[in-house]
């Protein structure tokens, strides 16, 4: 196990965005954080990355609590809908990522090829389309060195072909030992790429495990139901 999350809660005034969220993340797996819009996925990622304060709860690794300041040693979070260094070229942004974040220069060419960014290297990030920007954010995340990479909505803005190619690329990185924790609201996309799932709804974890494990949990609740797909499992558990 790479790290575990215990009893994480976060409120925005009267609204409970996260309530006693607990789960664990295994090394080298692709873990999907599945939930509808407003389930608290982004809030959970921001709390884990330490860019949003949580009200209670802990992140633990090897039996020890990992404080906010130490989180960058184990995980890196790529937010959704951001446009960093908008006036700078993609080429420079990748160099900066490797330099500033002590990233992995040996992966630069591979990541550029995997995400089809070769033709965009000279263009300013602010001039890119939504899908292109998403691929840039993925590249930034993949070039970092932390063992776990948290990506908020990795397929948002990508077309079907790009989604499949990006999913294959992410799996390749996971196969080499990188742990990926992906927040996905499209359940079909999640089913294609993830090894295990954390189901989140209304800020609460409704289930955690592989598809067969989740299906078993759903069947325990509703013996008459059919739970062949992740969609059916999700609907049954949330």
């Amino acid at each position: 196990m790479l790290f575990e999350v215990q009893g994480l809660s976060k409120r925005f005034g009267e609204i409970a965005a996260l309530s006693d969220v607990s789960f664990h993340v295994r090394a080298g797996e692709v873990l999907g954080l599945i939930g509808p819009n407003g389930a608290g996925k982004s809030t959970l990622f921001e709390c884990l990355a330490g860019v949003l304060p949580c009200d209670s709860g802990a992140v633990r690794a090897h039996g020890q609590s990992i404080g906010t300041a130490e989180r960058p040693s184990i995980l890196f979070y790529v937010p959704d809908s951001i446009a960093p260094w908008a006036a700078q070229s993609l080429r420079w942004a990748l160099d900066y990522t490797i330099g500033f974040f002590s990233g992995r220069p040996e992966l630069r060419e591979e990541v550029v090829a995997q995400l089809d960014l070769g033709d965009l290297l000279r263009r300013p990030i602010g001039a890119l389309s939504k899908g292109q920007l998403k691929r840039v954010l993925l590249a930034i995340g993949l070039l970092t060195r932390q063992p776990a990479l948290l990506i908020d909505e990795p397929f948002d803005g990508l077309d079907l072909r790009q989604t499949r190619e990006v999913a294959a690329g992410l799996r390749a990185h996971a196969a080499r030992g990188r742990t990926l924790f992906l927040s996905i609201h499209q359940i079909g996309d999640a089913a294609r790429i993830c090894d295990r799932f954390v189901l989140l709804s209304n800020g609460r974890v409704r289930g955690e495990g592989t598809l067969p494990e989740l299906a078993a949990q759903a069947a325990a609740r509703d013996a008459a139901g059919s739970f062949a797909s992740l969609e059916e499992v999700f609907l049954a558990l949330t």
């Binding site: 990355a49 860019v51 304060p53 960058p72 260094w85 700078q88 500033f100």
Partner: protein, 455 residues
């Protein structure tokens, strides 16, 4: 095919890891040069300095006897007061109305576009992040100071004299003032969610310091004391070539406080209530440090005219006084005689006599209706058990009373040491072309080239 190998020095250089802070500095610099706010600042500096410089040189020329006017004498013909203070006042304007937007753009922009969420994960301290931004904005400010610096070259070209220490003091004052503005802008950009809110807050604080100046001038007392440390008062001292250690230390404390607050509020992952407590801690530390700084003595008069000092012989004579000298001034804060007394005598006396205690006594702020009151306008001097009264507010009048009280023979005036001024009766030739043509042209071309490079 065999690959061409790059030279050994280049391979070595490429392999050497650049520290994260240098990467950050490079990024901030690149962000600065693409920000419109900075280019607008640069563009505005040319005409602002041009108007100030040309007007100052013309006035200076008239006082020097151009077109048949009577030649001036003494301090009126000090280039520091006659040319450089008004020319560099453009920097003061720009620091108040333009520079905050450059700082806010650089600090608040990262928060707006989400960059901060990424960069906070690098592990670098928030103070490191804000320090890099400050250094870059300060470098940007130094570039913006090129027009007034080019005015120095023009002045030399006209045959004008330049006294380096006083110019260095003036420039340092404006750099320090810019530091205060940057720190304030950074703090507000970090505290506020939106850059426009930060801009309003920054300007509000600036207006607040102006109100403090105004209240200090009317109320006197502690208000006047506090007003002596506002950015405007700081710049005014440097404009006269006066370097006061307490003012510099307080400015540095305020800059560090602003950057500290910016760093506290930049840490998005820290709960708001904790950031609030930390801010209160920073403010308390800052207040203590400022109080400590007000106790620090030490000042230097770098002006060629020694406009902040008594003549050397008088300073030597005053140095023989070791007893505490108490001065009780019965003049209202807005009475022009009080300003005369303060600027012509007491401010100079404070620099020489560490045991000087000045008390102002008045029933009103303007003193208009106190004129007929008994004792109004009197200035009482007490040295040991001797005391004397005078109504003189001139340097000579004040010194005469003090010498008489101390039983010291007034030194003879050293004619050779008297500053006779640096008259120069010339028109500001070529200044219009430099500040209204060349500089804006360079800025516009620079902006276009940078824009092309980045897009």
């Amino acid at each position: 095919m065999r690959r061409a190998r790059s030279p050994a020095w280049k391979r070595c250089f490429l392999r050497s890891p650049k520290p994260a802070f240098l990467w950050l500095l490079e990024k901030e610099w690149r962000e600065l040069v693409v920000s419109r706010a900075w280019w607008v600042l640069l563009l505005a500096m040319g005409p602002l300095v041009g108007v100030s410089f040309m007007s100052a040189v013309r006035t200076y020329a008239e006082v020097s006897g151009l077109n048949g006017t009577a030649a001036g004498v003494g301090e009126a013909l000090s280039p520091l007061i006659g040319v450089w203070a008004p020319t560099f006042s453009a920097c003061e304007l720009a620091a108040v109305f333009l520079l905050p937007f450059v700082a806010i753009r650089l600090v608040g922009g990262d928060r707006q576009n989400g960059t901060l969420k990424l960069e906070l994960q690098q592990g670098m301290s928030a103070f490191g992040l804000i320090a890099a931004k400050t250094m870059v904005v300060l470098a940007g400010w130094l570039v913006a100071m090129l027009p007034p610096l080019s005015a120095i070259l023009l002045w030399r070209g006209y045959g004008g004299s330049v006294y380096a220490p006083e110019l260095a003091t003036l420039i340092s004052g404006h750099v320090l003032n810019a530091g205060l503005t940057i720190a304030l802008g950074a703090a507000m950009a970090s505290v506020a969610e939106h850059p426009s809110t930060a801009a309003i807050l920054t300007l509000s604080v600036t207006v607040g310091t102006w109100i403090l100046d105004f209240v200090g001038a009317i109320q006197g007392g502690w208000w006047e004391h506090a007003a002596g440390y506002t950015p405007a008062a700081l710049v005014a001292e440097f404009q006269h070539g006066l370097v006061r250690l307490d003012s510099i230390l307080i400015a540095i404390v305020l800059i560090v406080t602003g950057l500290g607050l910016a760093a506290v509020w930049m840490r998005l992952g820290t709960p708001s209530h904790r950031r609030l407590y930390e801010s209160m801690g920073v403010a308390a530390l800052s207040a203590s440090a400022i109080f400590g700084c007000t106790l620090v003595r030490g000042s230097w008069d770098t002006s060629e005219s020694r406009s902040n000092s008594f003549p050397v012989a008088d300073e030597r004579a005053l140095g023989q006084i070791h007893e505490p000298l108490r001065v009780e001034v019965h003049l209202a804060p807005e009475d022009p005689r009080r300003l005369d007394l303060e600027h012509r005598a007491l401010s100079k006396l404070r620099r020489i006599l560490p045991n000087l205690h000045v008390t102002y006594v008045s029933a009103t702020s303007i003193g208009l209706f106190e004129q007929t009151s008994a004792g109004y306008g009197e200035i009482w001097y007490r040295l040991g058990n001797r005391k004397a009264m005078s109504r003189a507010t001139t340097e000579e009048g004040v010194l005469e009373v003090i010498y008489s009280l101390a039983g010291i023979n007034p030194p003879k005036e050293d004619e050779a040491a008297v500053y006779r001024g640096r008259p120069l009766a010339v028109e500001p030739r070529g200044a219009g072309a430099v500040f209204f043509g060349f500089w804006p042209g360079v800025v516009v071309i620079g902006a276009i080239l940078v824009r092309r490079r980045f897009q």
